[in-house]
């Protein structure tokens, strides 16, 4: 079914400010389709972001939206969710925003298992600030601050989030929109902290410096590196060496933070009445 854009977008703020061919459009659309399928009420939904190209997404969305400081979106989201546990809270972030300046908030949100869905648009670069290397820039790739090729080993964001306690971890990419929509839908439905890492293209800043300046070429390059988790299960470690596994990587049920808080309130208020 075709997405009814005008139901979700603040059409008066379109056209958006992203570069032509940017993967974020695919990601935002996949998210909106997932919300539409789940029949989420936009009055009951908050979208929060930090700083960077990705952070501009909430401004285009007709919901309760907040564009915060660099790296800190999850902290604001935590305050919103804990104050209103009955509402939907979604954070959209880039790789630098989420895992460099916001890395501490990322791991602690995972640990807390608060019912927030985090979508990380991982394009391996700081796009808006001019193409500096990020915590996910591959070793050897060039960036504005790595003119000789990056020597900094990158994070595997999904593994990081899983290790830190996220109870839903999925990875998709912009070359496969339908699976991405399913992965995001799963994250939105999941009760607990859900992370969807989306491999995306920044041909403008990453591609231009790494002989992948054509968006389609870069998306194909990303797609070629990925392998579905079911296919990956059939391959040896050696065969998987240069592959990025995509799909639903981890899902578990563990007590959600606001649920635990409700129990704490019952305990404390019972004590108050004695």
């Amino acid at each position: 079914m075709a997405l009814k854009y005008e139901n979700f977008l603040r059409m008066e703020h379109i056209p958006h400010m992203w570069c032509p061919g940017c993967g974020i459009g695919i990601i935002v659309k996949a998210m909106l389709r997932a919300m539409e399928t789940l029949e989420w009420d936009k009055n009951d939904t908050a979208m929060i972001s930090g700083i960077g190209c990705t952070s501009r997404a909430p401004g285009y969305l007709d919901m309760n939206t907040l564009h915060t400081t660099h790296g800190r979106a999850l902290t604001f989201a935590t305050g919103i969710k804990l104050a209103r546990p009955d509402k939907n809270v979604v954070v959209i972030s880039g790789d630098g925003d989420a895992s460099a300046i916001g890395g501490n908030h990322l791991i602690h949100s995972c640990r807390r298992n608060i019912d927030i869905t985090l979508i990380i648009v991982n394009n391996n670069i700081y796009g808006m600030t001019g193409g500096q290397f990020s915590p996910t820039t591959p070793v050897g790739s060039r960036a504005a601050t790595a003119p000789w090729g990056s020597i900094d080993p990158p994070f595997d964001l999904s593994q990081l989030c899983k290790a830190a306690g996220a109870t839903y971890v999925a990875r998709g990419h912009v070359g496969a929109a339908a699976p991405l929509e399913r992965l995001i839908r799963g994250g939105l439905k999941h009760r607990g902290f859900a992370v969807i890492e989306v491999l995306s293209n920044c041909h403008t800043q990453f591609g231009r410096r790494n002989r992948l300046s054509d968006p389609v070429e870069l998306i194909n390059h990303i797609a070629a590196k990925t392998i579905n988790i079911r296919e990956a299960a059939k391959l040896s470690r050696e065969e998987l060496k240069d592959k990025i596994i995509v799909g639903l990587l981890h899902e578990e049920q563990r007590e959600e933070y606001c649920d635990a808080y409700d129990k704490l309130i019952l305990k404390a208020s019972a004590a108050a009445h004695h």
Binding site: N43, T68, T75, I80, N104, H105, A272
Partner: protein, 382 residues
């Protein structure tokens, strides 16, 4: 005549406990914090008390996160507070500026200790005065309260929430370690003596709502998230709709409005106490624990026949400029004791413009200023 007024509840609390209790009275139902001496007792007490009344306490992963969480919760309509000390206050500054920019009501307590850096974590300092005024980048309005006695800590904490709600801005409660940790008797006000202010919420239909609509004054009504009013907030310069703009005239207008929320309401925001200032030849200007020492020094000076007085700002920012300018042209001199190497004195020098001498008393060793040290300066001027 017998006293027929209703009996007041008497408590014996520390300053930090007073802040926590007063916050609850003021309507605070959300607190996010991070452990830091000497403010932690505020978090201890609220972690116990807030869940008992259905409120929320959360210990975040760092100071920055605590500031972010309270701003987020504020946007849902909750009255919110965080508490910290110097190093944490520094970490919070970026998000404090964000709260000022999006105009989110919140209360930030700073129980000041010795600095710079880790400094003297368990001992007093009063050296975050200028950090409160100028700590975040960019120009923004500042309201900072500095109560010195615990009954006043109670009422000023409630006032901090009221001002935050009324002016849609962060409000600081700046006490020093001595005030945070001393205990004294409090005669709590009765409920009918307490004024509680709530933020103004919009009355227009949601589709007509602008989060920075100033048609009824400089403080725009603020809708709660999830109330059907879907709106956008950003730390970028924005127009009345809340969406980013780089239009020079709009940026100028909105930044000036932010400042005007405070600058045009000084009489409502500024509070101070004067003791013997009417006929004083020498006036001491002090806040917090230094003001308590100064009060004793002034009384001692009067006993010695010296016409000394005390001017004690309860609102440190915006500073009571008018009063100090008036002192400058009629006194022999001013004395400014403060537990730092000279911060408030800069503001006073600016206002006095050389019209009278100013003596400083500065201590940064972690011990309070003593009355005798203030008295010595009073006597020296006399």
């Amino acid at each position: 005549m017998p006293d027929t007024s209703p009996k007041r509840r008497i408590e014996f609390w520390s300053g930090n406990e007073v802040i926590a209790e007063a916050a609850i009275t003021a309507g605070c139902r959300f607190f996010a914090g991070y452990p830091i001496t000497p403010s932690s007792e505020i978090a201890h007490l609220l972690s116990q008390r807030l869940p008992m009344i259905g409120g929320k306490f959360i210990q975040m992963e760092d100071e920055i996160a605590a500031m972010g969480a309270v701003i987020g919760a504020s946007l849902t309509g909750a009255k919110v507070m965080t508490a910290t000390s110097g190093p944490g206050f520094s970490l919070k500054q970026e998000n404090i500026g964000f709260a000022a920019m999006i105009e989110a009501p919140c209360v930030v307590v700073n129980v000041m200790r010795g600095g710079p850096s880790t400094g003297l974590p368990t001992a007093l300092g009063q050296s975050d005065i200028m950090q409160a005024r100028w700590g975040t980048h960019g120009d923004r309005p500042v309201i900072a309260l500095t109560p010195a006695y615990l009954d006043e800590v109670y009422t000023e904490t409630i006032r901090a929430f009221n001002l935050a709600e009324k002016y849609r801005t962060p409000v600081f409660i700046m006490i020093d370690e001595v005030i945070g940790h001393l205990s004294e008797r409090l005669d709590l006000p009765n409920d009918d003596e307490i004024l509680i202010v709530d933020r103004i919420r919009p009355t227009v239909p949601p589709d007509q709502y602008l989060p920075y609509d100033t048609s009824n004054g400089d403080v725009p009504p603020l809708a709660d998230y999830f109330s059907g009013y879907r709106f956008h907030m950003t730390g970028l310069n924005h127009d009345r709709s809340g969406f980013p703009t780089t239009d020079p005239a709009t940026c100028q207008r909105e930044n000036e409005r932010l400042m005007r929320k405070v600058d045009a309401n000084l009489d409502d925001i500024i509070r101070f106490e004067t003791t013997f200032t009417d006929d004083a030849d020498i006036i001491v200007i002090a806040f917090g624990s230094s003001a308590r020492a100064a009060a004793v020094a002034v009384a001692d000076a009067r006993d010695k026949g010296i016409k000394a007085g005390l001017f004690r700002p309860l609102t440190l920012w915006p500073f009571p400029e008018k009063e100090v300018r008036e002192f400058a042209v009629r006194v022999k001199g001013l004395v400014v004791p403060e537990a730092n190497l000279g911060q408030l004195v800069f503001e006073i020098e600016r206002l006095v413009e050389g019209k009278c001498p100013i003596s400083r008393v500065n201590k940064v060793g972690g011990v309070p200023i003593y009355p005798g040290e203030v008295l010595a300066q009073i006597e020296a001027i006399n």
